[in-house]
Amino acid sequence: MPVFEYGDVKINVDEDGFMENPEEWNEKVALALASTEDVYELTDEHWHVINYLRDYYQKYGIAPMIRKLCKETGFSLKKIYELFPSGPAKGACKVAGLAKPTGCV
């Protein structure tokens, strides 16, 4: 299993870089994972997205629909791509410590 290291963060990730043990997530881990997106500072806007994703994930056990994410955060898809260059699923969800999306999505 690949290990991802950044600063003093050391976590197990899958082949796509998603956390293997999402319960190990914390803010430091988020910052570390963000570096894989070439994002080195998490602004309030980043946190707005991350917090929404985490709340939803904790409640329902999966990532929200992308359209729901946009509507609930008030950010357009374009804006989400600006914040997380790999997009909502591969970028934002990864940084928020969600498991990799499954099924035909």
């Binding site: 082949e15 359209r67 999306p101 099924g103 035909c104 999505v105």
Partner: protein
């Protein structure tokens, strides 16, 4: 063209058989013609290669851990051989035994089929992707273990082959380098089906050895049977999501759109690939609008598995396939619906529409969305203004709907009517090329498999799409719509567009069929398809 010769028996030797070299691939048209300007091909770290499968080509779709001991290796070998033997018995192979045996015994080795395989061709004729390469390995194993001939004769007639870890791991990987598109089978003068052979190989690995890509098995069929959907949506989440879609769409179209749940006695039980709900919500929304406008009573099911038409069992395991198909059929029976309509999903259509007939008798009638949409467009008095679809459109034929099921014309009749700038790809219909994401590949991206399916398995489709639009201004100014009425194909086409930067460079967009139909409805005042949102 490649010159290195790879022998069938090399499969049992340690190490890689070939290496992907982007310069050897068939070049793409401009502006994608210089491989140096395209994303590269990720080479796997040495440690990964040392710990995992013996890869045939430096690519890993799955990656087995190497056996820790001689005993472990022996165990795998014995399992493989017993699985091989079982594959050829009636009790264990209730789906495809006869065509499999025919395919084993009657290949004339004329090699006609090879040039029909988009993977083999686009790879620059890389020997390991030759349709008959994999098939010949299984054939030799068949004549060694299942229908043994005199060893001397065998050596002379069929060639010998050794089963060891190298063979098992490389063959397992190779069974995930063919999309099961069955284009090769169409060209075989004898009817030998190399796609089926790959499929049956996967069955040995899954049923007997418990080896299958986790995207298809653990996160796929297993999760679907436990949680309700391969996407991880349980019934509560799916209802919540559909409610959100209903509200969102009602707002956009200006009238109330409402999903129906668990309506007994409805004409149609609509089963979407649940990925549509999460990733392409306009598709289920468009179905709701269209069915209502046609005055058809319809429902979705909120029972476990009933709201996800996905059946990845089709790709690798008959038992999983049967479990899921049975759930779908039981739910339809319980709801007393007149028929099941499979949403825009190729493998769902094939699994439930065709293969289920090999397993269950007297099942509820089933229909693909293609014929239902055709019926609605032409026979239900809905008014269309085709000029609303004022952009160029081409159609991707999902292999499972066209080649496997023979549903060719309905979707074209619809497009010729509602999309004035519709043009065909070459070739199309039963001769179509797979999107490159077939047989579950579209959801597999581990290790460097994404690079493989973008550079190699999806290359022919990407080329075809570009060629279909070659008379249009090449750039981004004109949006071009690739209609792909299949969730799996849509995922692959989305990935291709992203990978090659083709939205920016060529103005490529993609979506389903039903969205185009709704976009042309006179009653939909605003645009239903909004390129700015795609």
């Amino acid at each position: 063209m490649r010159t290195n010769i790879i022998k069938i028996t090399d499969i049992s030797k340690p190490g890689q058989l070939t290496e992907i070299d982007l310069q050897e691939l068939a070049p793409l048209p401009p502006p994608y013609d210089d491989y140096r300007n395209l994303p590269g091909f990720k080479k796997l770290p040495k440690a990964t290669m040392e710990n995992l499968s013996d890869s045939p080509d430096g690519v890993l779709a799955t990656g087995l851990s190497r056996p820790a001991s001689k005993e472990e290796e022996e165990r795998l070998i014995n399992l493989f051989i017993s699985g091989l033997k079982k594959l050829f018995t009636k009790e264990n192979n209730w789906t495809f035994l006869q065509p499999l045996i025919l395919s084993m015994e009657h290949c004339a080795k004329c090699q006609t089929c090879n040039e029909e395989c988009p993977i083999y061709e686009e790879s620059g004729h890389n020997e390991v992707y030759r349709p008959t390469y994999r098939a010949e390995i299984l054939r030799r194993l068949y004549f060694k273990y299942v229908k043994p001939t005199n060893p001397l004769m065998r050596k002379f007639m069929q060639g010998d082959i050794e089963v060891n870890w190298e063979l098992i791991s490389k063959l397992f990987e190779l069974s995930y380098r063919c999309t099961l598109c069955r284009r090769c089978a169409m060209s075989c003068p004898i009817g030998v089906d190399n796609g089926l052979i790959t499929h049956e190989l996967r069955k040995i690995f899954s049923s007997e050895m418990g080896l299958a890509p986790k995207e298809l098995h653990e996160k796929g069929t297993v999760q679907q049977l436990i949680v309700g959907s391969s996407t991880g949506m349980n019934p509560e989440v799916v209802k919540d999501n559909m409610e959100f879609i209903d509200e969102d769409i009602s707002e956009r179209v200006g009238f109330k759109v409402e999903t129906k749940w668990d309506v007994e006695g409805a004409e149609v039980l609509l089963i979407h690939n649940a990925g549509e709900i999460l990733a392409w919500p306009d598709n289920p929304a468009a179905f709701a609008i269209l069915l209502d406008a046609a005055g058809i009573t319809w429902t979705m099911s909120s029972e476990l598995v009933g709201y996800d038409g996905v059946n990845y069992g089709l790709f690798y395991d008959d038992v999983q396939l049967a479990r899921i198909a049975m759930k779908h059929l039981e739910i339809a029976k319980k709801l007393k619906v007149k028929k099941i309509v499979m949403g825009e999903c190729g493998h769902e259509s094939k699994a439930l529409g065709v293969i289920a007939d090999r397993i269950f008798e007297g099942a509820v009638p089933r229909e693909t969305a293609m014929t239902l949409i055709e019926d609605i467009v032409f026979n239900r008095g809905i008014k269309f203004d085709p000029s609303k679809n004022d952009f160029p459109v081409t159609l991707h034929d999902p292999c499972n709907i066209t080649r496997a099921m023979g549903v060719i014309e309905p979707q074209r009749r619809v497009l010729r009517y509602i999309a004035p700038k519709f043009r065909e790809m070459t070739p199309h219909g039963v001769n179509n090329y797979c999107c490159g994401g077939g047989s579950g590949f579209a959801i597999m991206s581990g290790h460097n498999f994404l690079d493989w399916r973008m550079h190699i398995s999806g290359r022919r489709k990407f080329r075809q799409i570009l060629e279909a639009f070659k008379d249009e201004p090449p750039g981004k100014e004109v949006p071009k719509y690739v209609c792909a009425p299949c969730s799996n194909c849509k995922g692959q086409i989305r990935d291709l567009i992203d990978f090659y930067g083709a939205k920016e460079k060529s103005g490529l967009y993609y979506g389903g069929l039903v969205e185009l139909v709704v976009n042309a409805m006179v009653d939909i005042k605003d645009k239903f398809i909004d390129f700015d949102m795609m």
